[in-house]
């Protein structure tokens, strides 16, 4: 069982007897520190999606499905193609990658986990942290400080996130893929 708060894109959960892949998670705070988690879910077996809201501590059954360590090969619209150690190729629909798609870039070396349901590749989980190049961010407004001032940045692959004010265009940064948060400059 996982709490709604612990779910990440790529996880598969059982709801009312059906498997759903988590495509997007948004956690916000309600009153008195209680978390509200909004999930975008896609039915694994049918062509249907839904949005749902949960209390952060709501528990749900996460299905342990077959997973394989794979590396990203190429994009054949609308499929992302991944390859395992034995050079078998697996197609994953772009839609099924959800927010993870922002971190899939040509030449990436990180291992991903491709999840299978009844033999079909249905989702991809990224490593918890990746290193990406900042392709654009505004120059620092306060100089090279280590404070908590943040500014928007675009990274390789087109994703956006908030980075520390001292980060410059061209820097390599480590990102937590679970929260899309800047961790450090590397």
């Amino acid at each position: 069982m996982k709490t709604a708060h612990e779910l990440r894109p790529g996880n598969v959960i059982m709801l009312d007897g059906s498997p759903w892949v988590v495509q997007k998670t948004e956690t916000t705070r309600s009153g008195r520190n209680a978390a509200i988690v909004k999930l975008k879910l896609k039915h694994v077996l049918q062509d249907s999606s839904t949005e749902s809201t949960f209390k952060g501590e709501d528990k749900m059954e996460d299905i342990i499905l077959e997973r394989l360590d794979c590396t990203y090969s190429y994009f054949a619209d609308p499929m992302y193609v991944f390859m395992d150690a034995e050079y078998n190729q697996y197609d994953v629909e772009a839609e099924n990658l959800g927010d993870a798609a922002a971190y899939i870039v040509d030449g990436m070396e990180e291992n991903c986990q491709v999840t299978f349901y009844e033999g079909k590749a249905i989702s991809v989980e990224l490593p918890t942290s990746v290193v990406r190049e900042v392709t654009y961010t505004e120059p620092s407004a306060r100089g090279d400080t280590s404070g908590k001032v943040m500014k928007p940045a675009t990274i390789t692959g087109g994703g956006t996130l908030s980075v520390a004010d001292f980060v410059k265009t061209g820097d390599m940064i480590e990102i937590d893929t679970r929260t899309n948060e800047f961790k450090k400059r590397v």
Binding site: L15, T28, R29, S30, E51
Partner: protein, 397 residues
């Protein structure tokens, strides 16, 4: 109101966390559902002693009783009174429903699944906290599939037509206007509360906050002010901040007591029911309120106010405060907006000197400020109140 509604049975479960906030909201909701929609409401409350403060006729020792046409049941674990599935089940502020209740939902779902002539399981709602943040629109009304296979809907109060609206009784605004038109009402109310020595021209401020050093600073500021100021403060958390200037311990204070410091008089306010509190807010020149229920009632009072918001981890409450302030100040002249925002932010961050500075900038007699406070309730209610929207939501679910 329809005859159909009069046959409807709704249950509201409320766990009291902070004395009057949760119970304040759910009690107002229950009363309005009953009075205006003719719905049979049962309110399950886990702390009847706190509830009694806002409903003085309530007997905390009774497991079940009725007030204002609403059945009030004590919520204990296990339940002493059986829950029978009704038409709607509301868990207020994400409180965890008793296991017996959840089991009844499963049984009802199965019975309905086996034979659709059986009673439908109730529409299950989680009534959430009020927030002006934009994400609320995206979450309002979304279903939440539970492990049991039963859908629960998240219902978010809010200020836009994409949210669940705001609790407001149908005649509240006209009642308030009538009240405020006759200044004698204010004098009569103060007299009935045992508050004496308040002249019509004096500034009167109600204070219902959490602890804050900014409150102490404000009191010291009012003390040295040219105009006479009366601070009406009930026994509770606000007074904890003022202990250093009180002549005795808080325990020794009794309602009706007056403590004078220069041009400030602190009055120890007796507890009132919700209708009495509304009238108090209508009668004061400025209100300092906290939590959710009194925060909304301060807006409906059409008077300027400070919202002392419930503190959250990592200062998240300041984000909520800011979201509301942006909305509230949309049509306020920029200088006025800056002072009002600054005052609220400084008070919530316990910046004593800044609080006094912004207080000085905010002239309570300022006409645009008064006009804005009067117009805001009309804009905020956005044509339809929460109870009307909620009944419609249930019909469509």
């Amino acid at each position: 109101m329809t005859s159909q509604n009069s046959e409807q049975n709704w249950d509201i479960f409320c766990a009291v966390v902070d004395n009057y906030g949760d119970i304040g909201v759910t009690w107002r909701l229950a009363k309005q559902l009953s009075a205006e929609q003719k719905i049979n409401v049962t309110l399950w409350v886990d702390d009847l002693n706190s509830f009694q403060h806002i409903l003085p006729h309530l007997d905390p020792n009774q497991v079940t009783q009725s007030h204002c046409g609403i059945k009030i049941n004590q919520w204990s674990e296990p339940l002493k009174i059986d829950y029978k599935v009704g038409d709607v089940l509301i868990e207020a502020f994400a409180c965890e429903l008793p296991a017996q209740v959840k089991q009844q939902l499963v049984t009802a779902k199965q019975a309905y699944f086996d034979n659709s002539k059986n009673k439908k399981p109730p529409v299950w709602l989680n009534l959430e906290y009020l927030s002006a943040e934009s994400w609320v629109e995206g979450c309002h009304g979304l279903p939440s599939m539970q492990a049991s296979g039963i859908k629960k809907y998240f219902y978010f109060p809010g200020f836009s037509d994409k949210t669940g609206g705001l609790i407001c009784e149908k005649t509240l605004f006209t009642d308030r206007e009538h009240w405020q038109l006759d200044t004698q009402n204010r004098q009569n109310l103060f007299k009935s509360l045992g508050l004496t020595g308040i002249d019509e021209t004096d500034t009167v401020i109600s204070v219902f906050s959490y602890e804050s050093s900014a409150l102490l600073a404000l009191c010291q500021h009012w003390q040295a002010n040219d105009t006479k100021t009366h601070a009406l403060i009930p026994k509770g958390r606000s007074l904890n901040s003022l202990q250093s200037i009180l002549p005795c311990s808080i325990d020794e204070l009794t309602p009706g007591m007056q403590i004078a410091f220069g041009n400030l008089v602190i009055h120890i306010l007796p507890m009132t029911d919700q209708e009495g509190y509304d009238k108090l807010l209508w009668s004061c020149d400025f209100n300092i309120v906290r939590g959710e229920d009194s925060f909304l009632r301060a807006q409906w009072a059409a008077k300027p106010f400070i919202w002392h918001i419930y503190e959250q981890e990592e200062d998240y409450h300041l984000i909520k405060l800011d979201a509301f302030m942006q909305l509230y100040c949309n049509n306020l002249p920029s200088e006025l907006a800056m002072s009002w925002k600054g005052l609220n932010l400084a008070f919530n961050q316990e910046q004593a000197a800044l609080t006094c500075e912004y207080w000085q900038q905010l002239n309570l007699a300022d006409l645009p400020l008064q006009q804005h406070a009067k117009q805001w309730p009309i804009d905020a209610i956005n044509d339809v109140d929460l109870v009307s929207r909620l009944v419609q939501f249930v019909k469509n679910s």
